[in-house]
Amino acid sequence: MNPLTLARTCLLLTAWGCSSQRNIDPDIVRPAPGAPFLEKIPGPMLGPFTSYSDALMAACNKILRKPAATTGREDQHDFATRWRYATEYCAWIYYTPDRKYVVSKLTDQSRVDPALRYKACLLPSVVEDPRYPPDSIKYIYALHNHPYPHTLSDKDIEFIAEQGEMHGLTADTKDGPLRLSIIAFFSNKTVEPTCDGFHQYIPISGHIRTWTRTPRQWECRQTGLVRWLNQTEFSVERFDRPCASEDAP
């Protein structure tokens, strides 16, 4: 950095991490430098959709195509570098009083490790869609991406369990009662990423499932069962078997 150039630049001091706001993407919200993390996320970004699965697929494709949303698989080229610069984005899919499914805006308020070692996404618990009263919104899916096709983390499981206490474990919709769940999308590609699958945990049933896209259809595997000892302690029994035929995301 040329000191002369530096003298002409605007210098700001910020207390909050080493975040970059170099690309202003209208899909993404994040706190201003020095401001606390967001506790409400605005909507909408995508929608309205008449089908929750359409909303889910649209969100998956949208999120995974954001910059650095995917590292690809571990054996792929430049994985470690891609991991270092990977970003997690998170959002909600919610159900509106006019019987539609909507995807909120994304946040990438995640750069909490200056050394870029771990990735996290700080998902606000509340969606703020100015078109609807706050209490009329029903929460269906907490969304985020895993840059690497890694299973759900402890915090993913804890978070959606807490959200179930706040928002309810099911939501009555035109499609019947839908179960609150958390979703982690992943892609196996780094260039023009595709929605290759997602992990899902459904607190009311305790099921962890992994959905993967095959050339013809989506395949669902039940990969775990969560049991809670108390409000904070849980165990996970891990296995791998087909989901029940009636299962849907």
Partner: protein, 326 residues
Amino acid sequence: MKGMPTLLVLLLAGCVRTPDSSPVQREDESIQFPDFHERFAITVGKPGDIYTLDGVTLRAINVVADDFIPPDSTDLPCWRKREAHSFRIIRQGDIIFVSVSTTPGYCRLGYGLLDYGAKYAVRTDGRILRRSFGGPGGDLFSLPPPDAGEPDSAYAVDSSLVGSTLLGRQPPPDAGMDGGSSPPDAGLGTPAGAPRAELELQDIQYDGENLSGRLLIGAAGGRLRLDKRLIENVSVNVHSVRECATGLPPTYVHADSFPPPPREKDLLVLEPGSWYGARIHLWLFSQAHGHPGPDCIDVGLTIDDAEHQPLGMLTVRATRSPQKTP
């Protein structure tokens, strides 16, 4: 900075790069982490009971806390503080596996901390053998645990038991440098596979504050799309700085730049076998802020393409010269 309108955010004391936390050492990638939620943990610290905790385990927790949690500061949000964390522990032979994350409900938050946390394998002598931050490898539940016998114990410890007052913050013994033979980013490993670009920094100049040189980028495996401006902190980023003599990270400036998006004339498609070069200038240290640079530094740089996808990493050594960089 090539004279373009740029908004620069400077982060000094509060945003000096945290050291890559660990002493330079290669990690044992053969270690696989056990499933920390295979069964319920025994909670240490519940009121009304009596506990013992051996010093070896306590030291392992301390090592993990020092590595993962930032030094205490009033600026930190509640959940980044040491006392907001919990540790799950599984001991197998002479390895203590530790999973660290926040204690549910300790802080009142209006957001969830999706994927926050890490897993460590710490030897009983306090040396970190492996870390997993949810990314590269390490915790594939389908793989068998290391050949270290059955777990001796599995329990969770609230971080109120391992405050810095109790444990101190000294580095673990036997976790020192390895003579600088490992690359600065050894903790994360080097990129797998061939790089997308050949990178070289020529004519390196360093005056104790600024590092400059001519960056050459060669297309190795295919076409590259570059932002010819090679803007510092956008296309060219500093990811580590270490003193040559000690391998330790000094306090250095972290800067961010917000240039206008590239115009068509700023973009360059580099065909395989071709090279592109431009001079770069990086401001690393500030004498005025009490952070002069060491005489000799190893600087890790990452270079991104026009889409901000990484092209590769480059480590250069620079020795202070009496001349100012231009």
